[in-house]
Amino acid sequence: MAVRATDLLLSSGDEEHTLEEYEGRMPRWCTGCGDLAILAAVQKLCRDKQLNREKVVFVSGIGCSSRFPHYMGTYGFHGLHGRALPVAEGVKMRRPDLDVFVNTGDGDCCSIGAAHWMHATRYNMNMTVMMHDNNIYGLTKKQASPTSPKGTRSNTTPRGSDLDAFDPLAATLGMSNLSFVAQAVDWIPELLYKIIKQGYEHRGFSFIRILQRCPEFMPNRFEACVQDPDKLLLLTHKNGIELSPGLAKVYKNQKEHDPLDLVGAQEIAGTSERVPVGILYRNDSVPCYEDLRQPTELITPQLIRKGLETELDKFTIWPSD
């Protein structure tokens, strides 16, 4: 079928967006920070998808990773600690036409914002959530976060943290109405890009935990994994991630895992032998909250006024006759 007039006009030499157009301010993360790799992957995704910059919103909370919106040449909302998800939900509810990305950290998401995370997963609104997990509060100069390994010495745990680390993957895989869970690492750019891309393409709440190096406060946390490919377990499937020959040659530990298999995903997340990387779970049939709550009529100023007056009239004291 021939195109509509609008599409015809748009196709008349529409300019191609370059990666530089998606760049915002100069990043102020430390040299060697894994956030830089995540930023590069996301900017590449925006370019490859040719997203309209004015139709993209990055929402964040507080923390190193939450500086992300400043570094994107799109709209952004640098919010309050732990509150990235409710802000993103509000944006999506009112403007479902926008592409919404959320950048949150392990402290922001798994500690103060944990309740929002649980309910955002359940709401399954169409957005891509990247949890930058460096296992530490970096912005405030090293305090233990929920995902810090047991024994982590920090400003708040000088004798080493007492508890085993919280597992965000296992926690998410136990939440209701789940639709997409993946894990990536910042030091394999090809895989990082592919996972974020699949998260973006999935219609629903795409939760991607990204293991991210912090060279300043947790310099050796992931060093073993970076240097030894055998420490990773790459999840492959024709409906998930398919590895390039080069990557498959280096990373020999591979497991075919159907992203629809929730029990299998929970089993993988529960094992601590190797770090799983790939799509753990994806279910495209879960309805999105913004679709379920789509207004049946156009929200006009007149309609809002009418609604308000109806509500206010309930409290009006009418003069007696």
Partner: protein, 750 residues
């Protein structure tokens, strides 16, 4: 040859035999034998009447009364004896509704239900009446739908197609209105925001009004206005853009194709239902400038709202987007036109306009009620229409290959509803050619039977043709609505009692000749043969049709009929009608071939392949036999040993193409390089020397200029790289200070 046979043959061959005609039963009292079970149609439960639903349910716009009652019974009837009673009571009500349909004006199901209740309760005792009322109330509560009840009559095609058209158009109009209202709102918002940036919006009075009354005394609005106006002037919309938005807004607000949310229903809206093609076409062309303007205004609005309108590129296009540029995708947004026609009212001029309209891309939905399939017998002998008159418009339209075509009859519309819906939603023109019964049929013959006979006899086969369907001709044709697709003629079991009151079972075919017996104009082409004159050379017409010309000598074809007392008769058929029936069969074969059944090309190709494979196999066997024979000590026989006769199995492993990804070109071990795809963009190297190291288009590092730094820079970058992907290679300057140490450190990254 006996005298009796000569009499029969003379009628069959000439159509004239006074003696035989005088003996015959008046033709109109006879019916095809297979009609025997349908003498009291209103007492039977079948798929008519239909309920045209007021509100579509699960995507269905119509449901048969029988299906609806069955559904209700499944929901509310309790198991056991109690259930049997309720079932009977509800079925009695359904029967009453069927009877009422023949006497009361067109009504909704609810009205008919209440009327039937009232009639049935009139002579019941209070106790029985209470029981009945309880059962019917329960059933009615489970119905949850209402709508006009229509029976299978001559008006049905128009009621049915119009109902579907209205339902689909209601959805389209709702979507269109919502879209236009949204565009108006968004464009209005752009202008409102711009207006708020104007000086006139910052006057003390405007500022005071914007705050409300309670805290007005707390502010000095004069100073506030002065302060605001002294600040840098805000960026306003460019005049050209503002003008463009206002023009688009005005067009959207003044359009007449869709209802606006703030106006009364249909006020000022265009109508889209017509009784002639020329009137519909005239309306189309009259409204075309408005349609083009609205279409362009929508395009402008969508681009402006997304901030994607670029004057340098789009002004040029927009100025040239006229009627010729309207694409099917554009037209799919606008309402379609429904034209209701009767074939008998079409003069030659209107026929030409009809074909012209159907060959256009315009969204015209044309309902053509066909009332005459066979056509009148021509005054000139041997010049019949050959039974194709009623099919000509549908066949011609298929030939255009641009329009959606549905051919069917009133009796099978319920089963063709999916095709009707697809035709209504088709982007271009659609023709619905529906046989609605004929005035040349007996007045007491129900329309359901006469129209069903048209389908069963292959005189008017049902099919749809969708030119947009991918996958070849067989995918575009859908002939599934016809009974017994694989058979030339539809056949049914026929049971009767013979003279000795013994049960006899026969299989009777229902041919185009049976259909012709219903048409009063063809009465003279049949002759009723009294039973005492039945001859052994008489053959059922369906058998006769299958015989070659030379085999038909001295045989007389007949069709089996019944009279009003259910006694069997045989009608001898004029040879001219036999030729018409043969042509009807050929047409059916052609249609089946179009629909993918018995495709002659595919059959021929399959036969060729089969022969080729057989020859190859035989050759392979011959070769094996020859090999065996040449071996000493092996006895030759007529057939190869079983193991050798088996088709050689293909060794999958041996033929599988091994796919090996090409290795990346080996890097020069002497030169410095970076494994760019593995770069994590950590800024280590670029921060060290931004001229030597740079990022590519994917923001991953590569060596931009090896001469822009020292070998030390390279080695230190390699040492600090988080993922160890920098390989320093050999130094460019052999005299660089401390080279020995640097080479030793670089060795770790070679």
């Amino acid at each position: 040859m006996s005298v009796e046979l000569q009499e029969l043959l003379s009628f069959h061959r000439t159509g004239k035999n006074r003696a035989l005609k005088d003996k015959k039963e008046p033709a109109l009292k006879l019916r095809p034998a297979l009609f025997a079970d349908y003498s009291q149609l209103s007492k039977l439960r079948y798929d008519y009447p239909l309920v045209l639903l007021d509100e579509s349910r699960n995507g269905d716009h119509v449901i048969s009364l029988m299906d609806l009652i069955n559904e209700v019974l499944r929901l509310v009837v309790p198991p056991g004896t109690q259930g049997t009673r309720v079932r009977q009571q509800v079925l009695a009500l359904e029967l009453k509704i069927r009877e009422l349909l023949r006497t009361v004006p067109p009504s909704k199901l609810g009205e008919l239900w209440r009327r039937a209740e009232k009639d049935l309760l009139a002579h019941q005792s209070d106790e029985v009446a209470q029981q009945l009322q309880e059962s019917w109330d329960t059933a009615w509560a489970a119905l949850r739908v209402d709508g006009l009840v229509v029976d299978c009559d001559s008006e049905l095609p128009e009621q049915f197609v119009r109902h579907f058209w209205r339902c689909e158009e209601a959805l389209r109009t709702k979507r269109g209105s919502a879209k236009i209202d949204r565009l108006i709102l968004k464009l209005g918002d752009i202008l409102t925001v711009d207006e708020l940036k104007s000086e006139s919006s910052r006057t003390p009075r405007k500022l005071r009004d914007s705050l409300g009354s309670r805290y007005q005394d707390a502010f000095d609005f004069d100073i506030m206005a002065e302060l605001l106006n002294s600040a840098a002037a805000p960026v306003r919309l460019p005049a050209q853009r503002k003008k463009r938005i206002k023009a688009a807004l005005a067009t959207l607000k003044s359009q007449h194709f869709f209802k606006h949310s703030d106006t009364d229903a249909s006020a000022g809206q265009y109508g889209f239902q017509y009784r002639s093609v020329s009137a519909a076409m005239a309306a189309w062309y009259e409204r075309l400038p408005d349609l083009v303007a609205l279409n362009n205004a929508i395009a402008v609005a969508e681009l402006e709202i997304d901030n994607r309108y670029c004057e340098t590129r789009h002004d040029l296009y927009l100025g040239r987007l006229g009627a010729h540029a309207l694409s099917p995708a554009d037209l799919a947004f606008f309402p379609s036109y429904l034209v209701s026609l009767s074939e008998r009212d079409l003069d030659s001029g209107e026929q030409a306009i009809l074909m012209d309209a159907l060959s256009s891309d315009l969204p015209l939905k044309i309902l053509l009620r066909v009332n005459d399939i066979l056509g009148s017998p021509s005054p000139v002998d041997a010049q019949l229409h050959n039974g194709v008159r009623g099919q000509q418009f549908a066949a011609m339209t298929v030939g255009l290959n641009d329009a959606f075509v549905v051919q069917g009859s009133s009796s099978n519309l319920y089963h063709e509803q999916a095709a009707v819906e697809r035709g209504i939603n088709f982007g271009g023109p659609a023709l619905f050619s529906i046989y609605a019964g004929s005035c040349n049929m007996p007045a007491d013959l129900p329309v359901y039977l006469s129209t069903a006979a048209a389908i069963e006899s292959r005189a008017f086969p049902a099919y749809s043709y969708d030119p947009s369907a991918a996958g070849g001709l067989a995918c575009r044709y859908d002939i599934e609505a016809n009974p017994q697709l694989e058979a030339q003629w539809v056949a049914h079991e026929f049971i009767y009692e013979d003279e000795a009151l013994q049960r006899v079972t026969e299989t009777l075919a229902f041919t185009m000749l049976d259909f012709a017996t219903l048409d009063v104009r063809y009465a003279d082409y049949f002759a009723d043969v009294p039973k005492d004159s039945w001859h052994e050379n008489m053959r059922p017409a369906v058998e006769y049709l299958e015989l070659a010309e030379q085999e038909r000598q001295e045989l007389v074809p007949y069709v089996v009929m019944i009279d009003d007392k259910n006694c069997l008769h045989r009608l001898v058929v004029d040879d001219m009608l036999i030729r018409v029936a043969a042509r009807c069969a050929q047409n059916w074969d052609t249609l089946r071939e179009f629909g993918g059944i018995n495709n002659s090309y595919a059959q021929a190709a399959a036969e060729r392949v089969s022969q080729h494979m057989a020859a190859e196999k035989e050759q392979a066997l011959e070769d094996l036999r020859a090999q065996l024979a040449s071996r000493p000590g092996v006895a030759t026989s007529g057939s190869a040993p079983a193991a050798l006769a088996r088709e050689p199995e293909q060794d999958v492993a041996s033929v599988a193409v091994e796919t090996i990804e090409p290795e990346l070109e080996d890097a020069d071990p002497e030169g410095a390089y970076i494994e760019t795809p593995r770069c994590t963009t950590c800024d280590e190297c670029t921060a060290r020397n931004a001229r030597m190291f740079a990022y590519d288009e994917n923001k991953q590092a590569y060596i931009a200029d090896l001469t822009a730094g020292t070998y030390r820079d390279l080695v230190e970058a390699a040492e600090n790289c988080q993922v160890a992907i920098i390989h320093p290679g050999k130094p460019l300057d052999p005299k660089e200070a401390g080279l020995e140490d640097l080479l030793a450190r670089a060795a770790d990254f070679s």
